[in-house]
């Protein structure tokens, strides 16, 4: 706060302003540095832990640099990599199918409700928006897919429920309204273009940042989701990657707890370092991929925000 004040008061005089700006910048840099350290540190600890000997983790705790450096955890994972590769494959499948179809449906819907000549666009927009405020809750949602649509155990149940979200549809509509002035579509219409021509040849080409943003939202959502596998999968070969990892963790804790009630085997549970290595294997590719599309993400969100 005090910085803002300095800034305002000293605005007319040039030299003082730069001092104020400098303080402001200094503090921003400091805060941002702290923020990024807070974000990065846990990840470094995960990576270093995955290269640390398991007993060292248990006896000495985690450290920033791996003590007793070893590849043992990765060797364990890749000794029988069948499960993790399967989970990867399924995750790619869900992400590609879900993002592709979802993007198509969201864009088409967004286009339709952005057209002024569409009589019921307000009603339909409202209905879409309405679902973002009022939801049936978890049980009806589950019963809908499990009993009414009978999708339990089907891979459809994993990608279908997340194809569209009200937020993304409205975001897309805003994009279309902002990117394509009425004059252009009108002139296209005069030249004899139908809605499909307008959509594919005029709207889509100027919609790239919008597509990238919504696509990234969808793709990240699909990549990181585990909940639908948890609810609907009946076979571990259809699991999403994140669920595979999450369940591994949960199985360890649950079985340790259970062991106080029931006679059961608790050996053969994954060790700390294996769990960490799993996390690295699962997040690694996304981490490499993310910086390249991040610019779309940032610009896309701000565009949407300003025009909304």
């Amino acid at each position: 706060m005090s910085n803002d004040k300095d800034f305002e008061i000293s605005a007319p005089r040039k030299i003082k302003k730069s001092v104020g700006t400098k303080t402001f910048e200094g503090i921003s840099y400091l805060l941002l540095t702290l923020g990024s350290i807070i974000c990065v540190l846990p990840f470094i600890i995960i990576v270093s832990g995955s290269f640390t000997d398991n007993t060292t983790i248990l006896t000495k705790g985690y450290s920033l640099l791996p003590r007793d450096f070893t590849f043992a955890a990765y060797q364990t994972i890749f000794k029988s990599p069948k499960d993790i590769i399967q989970a990867y494959k399924m995750n790619v499948y869900y992400t590609v199918v879900g993002t592709g179809l979802g993007l198509m449906m969201i864009t088409l819907t967004g286009y339709v409700i952005s057209r002024k000549e569409f009589k019921y666009r307000n009603t339909i927009s409202f209905l879409i928006y309405f679902t973002s405020i009022f939801g049936g809750g978890m049980i009806p949602w589950y019963l809908m897919y499990a009993n009414v649509l009978n999708l339990k155990g089907h891979t459809l149940a994993i990608w279908f429920p997340a194809l569209m979200s009200p937020f993304l549809v409205i975001l897309m509509r805003t994009f279309i309204v902002g990117a394509v002035p009425d004059a252009i579509t009108e002139s296209a219409k005069i030249d004899g273009a139908g809605h499909f021509t307008i959509f594919f040849r005029i709207v889509l080409p100027v919609l790239k940042p919008g597509l990238a943003t919504v696509g990234l939202f969808l793709a990240l959502g699909y990549w990181n989701d585990w909940y639908r596998s948890s609810m609907f999968s009946t076979n571990s070969s259809t699991w999403q990657l994140q669920f595979y990892l999450y369940d591994l963790l949960n199985a360890t804790t649950a079985m340790k707890q259970m062991a106080s009630n029931v006679s059961m085997k608790t050996a053969d549970l994954p060790t700390e370092s294996v769990k960490l290595a799993m996390a690295v294997v699962a997040t690694g590719p996304v981490l490499l991929f993310y910086p390249f599309v991040q610019r779309f993400f940032v610009s896309g969100i701000t565009v949407g925000a300003v025009k909304g």
């Binding site: 009022f134 978890m138 571990s236 062991a259 059961m264 050996a267």
Partner: protein
């Protein structure tokens, strides 16, 4: 005007969404209740048909002409060879009951929620039940089929095998809703300690509070750098204790036990309906002073209250005894761990019940099978349960997989062939997690089970001498706290905030801290909880004749 209207609508919408969220969490129970109500006529219909068939053909009571496909919902993760074993199992089941079983697994993620979903959606026909999955509450809200009549008509063999006493423990409101497994299992809590260290320094066996103290003190004197106990608050999340070290008091009182009563109430095993108070007694102050003495002696870390539970601490030598949440099976695991580690460590076990004289096996509802209400063929489902549990051939496939591929029996002991060959087993022992299908007569022991069985035999002999011989009178009780859930959670908070440091001995003045705890827990509404709880508990004891 329009704007105002809009903002009013938005506010309402927001409010409604908040309210909506609030009720969402209760919807599982609500849905169950509704289901129970709507489904009751259906069951009456089935019982009627059951009766008519009985009249028509008293001997052979079940019609096997049509093939029935059942879903069997169990806990945990599927084994790798799920399909292979299921195929082998179904081959036999088709032959014997003209039915197939599709095993479905909850996984360990969100399993409580998914278990409730499964019952609400009636996706399964057979389902694993246990007291830790709220069997009592679910049964009383109508989640499962009543089995009383069907047991006589369809599954007399099963009824004879399980026995009336165990079936009686599965009764809720006078009706049987579940078939327990028939393997008596002792999960008696106790102290796991390092026998090698005890022998090395010639210390007493920690079989009482004094001896435990002497054992820990002895090690502290001889190996000052050795951490002694790795106690946290994680084994004390209920309404009995607030810090793990307090479980050691089980040596002194038989009712300081995970099966004991809540809210600082106690009842002796011999006189369960005679409920009295502990937190406001002089014993309590004395015990808390002992805890402080132990804390001051450095038995556990000063940060114990905020530490997270490290269940590998004992295995890695980071503590020399474990006193909370232990059971014979964990001891057996520890023996195997120490053998693998090869450092010459030895683990030994003393059950609290050996000292205080009260010991009993797990309750019948600990591992059982129920037929989900809404199952289209409840009779066949029960018949399949009978086959799975009583037919040796089928039971062996279900529990151990395929003989020759997954396991073999050498000298009457189970051997996992893949484990022997150094591979990851594709179908481990009880690979379907069907702990509810353990048949005590035919259960194959694993190599480690020899030690386990020795302990069980010892406990069974002790259990014979109690007033209710080898009967767990506590675990069938399920508290219904709807009427005082606010007070209950307030009491829980006070326990975490004030009882935990007291039991961890991390207070300066025990007397003052005890007084503080007493006033606060009273203010939180302890009396209301106690009153209701006692009422329910006494009613439970009367119902099952524990007097």
């Amino acid at each position: 005007m329009k704007k105002k209207l809009l903002s009013a609508v938005m506010t309402l919408a927001l409010l409604a969404s908040v309210v909506g969220c609030g009720s969402g969490s209760q919807s599982a129970a609500g849905a169950l209740d509704q289901q129970g109500v709507s489904e009751i006529p259906a069951t009456e219909a089935t019982t009627e048909t059951a009766e008519t068939t009985e009249e028509a053909a008293p001997a052979a009571a079940i019609d096997l002409s049509e093939q029935v496909d059942l879903v069997f919902y169990v806990m945990g993760d599927a084994p790798q060879d799920e399909e292979l074993v299921e195929e082998a199992l179904n081959e036999k089941l088709l032959e014997k009951c003209n039915a197939t079983v599709d095993m479905q697994f909850s996984t360990w993620t969100d399993f409580q929620q998914k278990y409730a979903n499964e019952i609400t959606s009636q996706g399964a026909d057979l389902i694993y039940i246990a007291n830790w999955l709220n069997y009592g509450q679910l049964a009383s809200s109508g989640a499962f089929e009543e089995l009383d009549d069907m047991l006589d008509t369809v599954a007399p063999e099963l009824k004879a095998l399980v026995g009336d006493s165990a079936l009686g423990m599965c009764k809720v409101g006078g009706k049987i809703y579940a078939i327990p497994n028939t393997w008596p299992e002792y999960v008696s809590n106790g102290v796991k300690y390092r026998e090698d260290l005890r022998a090395k320094y010639d210390l007493p066996v920690p079989d009482s509070l004094e001896n435990l103290e002497a054992y820990l003190m002895g090690i502290k004197e001889n190996e000052p750098n050795q951490p002694l106990l790795a106690v946290t608050t994680e084994e004390s999340q209920g309404f009995k204790t607030a810090f793990d070290a307090a479980w050691a008091l089980n040596f002194k009182y038989s009712w300081v036990n995970i099966n004991g009563l809540d809210y600082g109430l106690t009842a002796n095993y011999d006189t369960p309906t005679d409920v009295y108070d502990y937190w406001f007694s002089d014993d309590f102050v004395e015990d808390m002073k002992l805890m402080k003495k132990w804390a001051d002696a450095g038995f556990w870390s000063k940060s114990a209250l905020s530490d997270t539970n490290n269940s590998d601490a004992y295995k890695n030598g980071l503590c020399v005894a474990e006193i909370a949440g232990q059971n014979p099976n964990k001891q057996v695991t520890a023996i195997a761990d120490f053998t693998n580690a090869g450092e010459g460590w030895e683990s030994a076990y003393v059950a609290y019940g050996e000292t205080n004289g009260v010991i009993y096996p797990g309750h019948a509802t600990q591992n059982g099978t129920a037929v989900v209400r809404g199952c289209k063929n409840p009779e066949r489902a029960l018949y399949v349960i009978q086959t799975l549990l009583c037919d040796d051939e089928v039971n062996a496939i279900l529990q151990y997989g395929i003989k020759g591929t997954h396991y073999d029996v050498v000298d009457g002991i189970y051997k996992n062939l893949q484990e022997e060959a150094g591979e990851t087993p594709t179908f481990p022992y009880e690979g379907f997690n069907t702990w509810n299908m353990r048949n005590g007569d035919t259960k194959l022991p694993q190599a480690t089970d020899v030690a386990l069985q020795e302990m069980f035999d010892k406990y069974a002999k002790l259990g014979e001498k109690t007033k209710f011989p080898n009967v767990n009178i506590y675990d069938g009780f399920s508290e219904n706290y709807e009427a005082y859930s606010a007070e209950r959670s307030a009491v829980g908070n006070v326990m975490r905030q004030y009882l935990a440091p007291l039991q961890a001995g991390l207070v300066d003045d025990v007397d003052a801290a005890v007084e503080d705890f007493r006033t606060r827990v009273k203010d939180a509404g302890l009396d209301k909880c106690r009153e209701e709880y006692t009422k329910q508990w006494v009613a439970y004891c009367e119902e099952y004749d524990y007097k």
